[in-house]
């Protein structure tokens, strides 16, 4: 639609303004993470930029430094108790290990299933497809209580064995990611022309060979996009981790422990929160092109 010049300028301004509104919470969040406490809790006015930036929140949450020592060094001089609870390095490790592991498990089980759904005719194909899709609709709350009991019985809780706790989270995250991965990968495999692998099979190649040498390489962009989305969904997951683990604290679970009865540690919360969104921001820009397809389980293409 052609707009006259003043209208076009008005539209540009409005588009920029609306986007700015949506960016504001992220900006405010990052800004708060470098504010000194006095600027966060100012009850008389909203502090925008007139403060001396501090890195203390990052030093405590990301580097595990002692808060009281940092406060004394900075001349704020209030001796505050314990810093251990705010050291979030182990949480970042937990989140990274579990998300990467969950992505790997998801891809290992989803790729073959997606291939079969894309290329093979078998009895119960529709039923299997609906089963996978139904999994996406299942509220996690409906399966989490028995899983806690089962993990306890198997000695797989993080309190029994930290590494098995990681594994336990990876497996349940893999289940959660499975529908998106399978349906998305199926749609990418469907995009690879069937004549190519059918021709290879007529020439005597087995399905496994055509899969490894033709279909998978031709769809590798899609496989990468699916893996990135699985990573993001695992990184942001909250409910399952909250119910299933006590010692393992993924970042989303860790961050809400900074809310205490004596007051919220907004400096640490925002510092960890800002750090927690950065991997997602990088990854989302990598998969912009496939985002719509991923979010709609392969049913809409861009």
């Amino acid at each position: 639609m052609e707009l006259s010049r003043p209208w076009q300028i008005a539209r540009d301004a409005l588009a920029a303004f609306v986007t700015a509104i949506f960016m504001f919470p992220i900006f405010w969040w990052a800004l708060t993470s470098i504010k000194p406490i006095s600027a966060v809790f100012d009850k008389d006015r909203i502090v925008w930029f007139d403060f001396i930036p501090t890195t203390i929140n990052y030093a405590v949450t990301m580097l595990g430094q002692s808060r009281s020592q940092l406060a004394i060094d900075a001349g704020i001089g209030m001796g505050v108790a314990g810093t251990e609870a705010y050291d979030s390095r182990s949480s970042i490790l937990d989140s990274a290990v579990v998300s990467i592991g969950a992505t790997a498990v998801t891809m290992m089980v989803a790729i073959p299933a997606a291939y079969a759904l894309s290329r093979m005719a078998f009895r119960g194909r529709n039923a299997f497809l609906n089963w996978v899709l139904g999994q996406r609709f299942m509220p996690p709350i409906a399966i989490i209580f028995p899983l806690v009991t089962t993990y306890k019985w198997l000695g797989m809780r993080d309190t029994d064995n930290y590494y098995l706790g990681w594994l336990g989270l990876m497996l349940i995250y893999a289940l959660m990611n499975l529908p998106i991965a399978v349906l998305l990968l199926k749609s990418f495999f469907d995009d690879v022309p069937k004549d190519v692998d059918e021709a290879a099979m007529i020439d005597g190649a087995t399905r496994w060979e055509t899969f490894c040498k033709i279909v998978l390489p031709m769809a590798k962009g899609g496989v990468a996009a699916a893996a990135v989305l699985c990573f993001i969904f695992s990184w942001t997951e909250f409910l399952l981790s909250l119910f299933l683990t006590t010692d393992i604290r993924t970042v989303p679970v860790k961050i809400q422990t900074f809310v205490t009865s004596t007051g919220n540690e907004w400096g640490f919360i925002t510092a960890l929160g800002t750090a927690a969104v950065i991997p997602g921001f990088i990854f989302i820009l990598l998969v912009q092109r496939h985002l719509v397809r991923g979010l709609t389980l392969g049913s809409l293409k861009e």
């Binding site: 079969a116 609709f137 709350i141 087995t206 942001t236 389980l297």
Partner: protein
């Protein structure tokens, strides 16, 4: 073997890659062990009555189900769940469509705006909840203070601390984070529309508003239905924002079915009752999504 024979199951080769079984087995195993088995276990659990004093569970199939249907707190939670879903979904859909129309342009710079719009989607919802907890704080939160400055709310008013405004406060976080989801999907839909009908309509003297309601909306109905279905399912099982922002409070003002189940579980460890509420959430999701898919003829 001809091309048409391939893929047909045969009894001899079910262990080779020619048969579908080896391809489907890993995914099926994962779904059985971590999906089907716990679901059956949860359903069976609801058939037992937990004796609070002896901590024993006695078989009493109707006990939990009659209890939750007579429980006013469950009905409140159901009401909150439905209100939360409908209101947030409406805002997300309408705002998402309007913003998509606004950003659907090939002019320089719009690509960057569209990319920026996707950023909220990757923030952990628990972190988003904390963001809004900070911004809605009555004494130093930036959004709360802006609202208070307009005179709509009294000084020092705690939006999340009052039962009248707590649920809208939580919805604000939900709407902020997921409106971009709608924007993204609507943009994809808009970009896929054919140009000709719009050119013809413009020649016939149709206004842009007429063109939107007569052409854009009907042609986008499938896209809109898919977006509503996916968001709706997520909204019906809302948990993350509520847990971190209000923990279902004040009192039970923001309690949804999922958060109620969680509260029973963490509170008095009545697993059978918590399971009954959780299974009810599942039934609600299945029922509404099936009805929706039938009425609007959506297939994912």
């Amino acid at each position: 073997m001809t091309a048409s024979d391939m893929g047909k199951p045969s009894r001899l080769n079910w262990l080779t890659s020619e048969h579908s079984l080896p391809w489907l087995l890993p995914a099926s195993a994962l779904m059985v062990v971590f999906g089907v088995y716990p679901l059956i276990a949860a359903v069976l659990k609801t058939l037992y009555r937990k004796n609070a004093a002896t901590r024993r569970e006695i078989f009493d199939p109707l006990y939990n189900w009659t209890k939750i249907f007579e429980d006013p707190r469950m009905w409140d939670a159901l009401l909150h769940t439905l209100a939360y879903t409908l209101i947030a979904l409406t805002f997300q859909l309408v705002l998402g469509m309007l913003i998509a129309l606004l950003l659907d342009s090939d002019r320089k710079g719009y690509g960057i705006l569209r990319a920026m719009m996707t950023l909220p989607l990757v923030i952990p919802p628990a972190v988003t909840g904390m963001m809004f907890l900070l911004m809605l704080n009555g004494s130093f939160g930036v959004i709360a203070r802006l609202i208070i400055a307009t005179g709509l709310l009294p000084v020092g008013y705690s939006i999340l601390g009052n039962s009248a405004t707590a649920l809208p406060g939580v919805m604000l976080a939900e709407i902020w984070q997921w409106t971009p989801f709608m924007v993204l999907i609507m943009l994809a839909g808009l970009r896929a529309l054919p140009k000709e009908p719009f050119e013809a309509a413009a020649i016939d003297g149709a206004t842009p508003v007429q063109a939107f309601f007569k052409l854009t909306l009907p042609m986008m109905s499938k896209v809109i239905a898919i977006a509503v279905l996916i968001r709706g399912v997520d909204l019906l099982r809302a948990f993350d924002y509520i847990k971190v922002m209000t923990d279902s409070g004040p009192g039970t003002a923001t309690e949804t079915l999922t958060s109620y189940a969680g509260r029973i579980y963490f509170g008095n460890s009545d697993y059978p009752l918590a399971s009954a509420v959780a299974i009810l959430t599942l039934v609600l999701v299945i029922f509404t999504s099936t009805v929706f898919m039938r009425i609007f003829k959506v297939k994912l």
